[in-house]
């Protein structure tokens, strides 16, 4: 029952996404062909990447403004460093413990790469490797909050921490 629900929500979301892409590419012409192509694309996407978690669309949409604000911050920060004479860089590495499933960990890494001062470099033993531009600036404080947001978007319940 639960699995069917995940399947149908994924079907709905992906039809919305791919249909939207078709409409913006063609400018709302050739809708019959578009319907056919969208259906094929959704089928292929569900086959190649089956849905495993119930994505909550409105939570993902609600997350967008924070993401945009974070990436503007990130760009401004990096631009200030690039133009300042001494650059104030103190690069270092962090390991972030996370129990997000594989796909969601990649999303977290991608998001962190656009937020100020952090850059993900894949994962090792389930830990995300994060490069920070300035180890003193407290960039890593934003990481738990992002991880939590993504967990609620995909309806992932974190394991109890000891």
């Amino acid at each position: 029952m639960f699995r069917m629900q995940i399947f149908w929500t994924a079907l709905f979301h992906r039809s919305l996404l791919l249909g939207g892409v078709w409409t913006s590419l063609t400018g709302a012409e050739a809708l019959a062909l578009g319907g056919l192509v969208t259906a094929l694309a959704v089928w292929l996407s569900l086959r190649l990447l089956p849905a495993t978690h119930p994505l909550v669309l409105w939570r993902a949409v609600r997350h967008i403004p924070r993401f945009i604000a974070g990436s503007v911050d990130g760009g401004v920060d990096v631009a200030r460093r690039a133009f300042s004479p001494n650059m104030r860089l103190r690069p270092g590495w962090l390991e972030v413990q996370t129990d997000l499933p594989d796909g969601a960990r990649v999303v977290l890494g991608g998001e962190l790469s656009l937020m100020p001062g952090t850059l993900a470099a894949g994962s090792e033993d389930g830990k995300l490797l994060v490069h920070v531009l300035d180890t003193d600036a407290g960039f890593d404080n934003a990481i738990p909050r992002e991880a939590e947001d993504i967990a609620t978007i995909i309806g992932h319940k974190p394991k109890a921490r000891p």
Binding site: L25, L89, R90, P91, G92, W93, G122, S123, E124, D125
Partner: protein, 108 residues
């Protein structure tokens, strides 16, 4: 407006020239790939500006370039992985990296 958009497109191209310097100097393969990424993004930006100047159909070209730039990077990463065709996370664990960021920052 036309004058500003032309200036903008030229300035963007000049900034891409800086990326070409990085492609030339390297030193690592990843540096060269990053510069190629920058040229991809910059090319998309130039095409957007030209679309406003000349013909909106150029937006489709920008879309295709954005897609191809992403695929180029994926191709590079696959070729860099240990068996030349796989996932970069197959590489041996990266224990040695810790703490080296600091000394490297000094000699820049």
């Amino acid at each position: 407006m036309t004058l500003w958009l032309h200036t903008l497109a030229i300035a963007l191209l000049v900034s891409l020239g800086g990326a070409l310097w990085r492609v030339w100097r390297g030193p690592s393969q990843a540096d060269r790939m990053m510069a190629a990424q920058l040229i991809g993004t910059g090319g998309v930006a130039v095409l957007m500006v030209l679309a406003a100047l000349q013909d909106w159909a150029l937006l489709v070209v920008a879309f295709a370039l954005a897609t191809l730039a992403a695929l180029a990077a994926v191709g590079f990463v696959k070729s860099e992985s240990p068996d030349g065709a796989g996932d970069p996370e197959e590489a041996p664990p990266v224990k040695k990296m810790r703490g080296t960021g600091q000394d490297r920052a000094q000699n820049g």
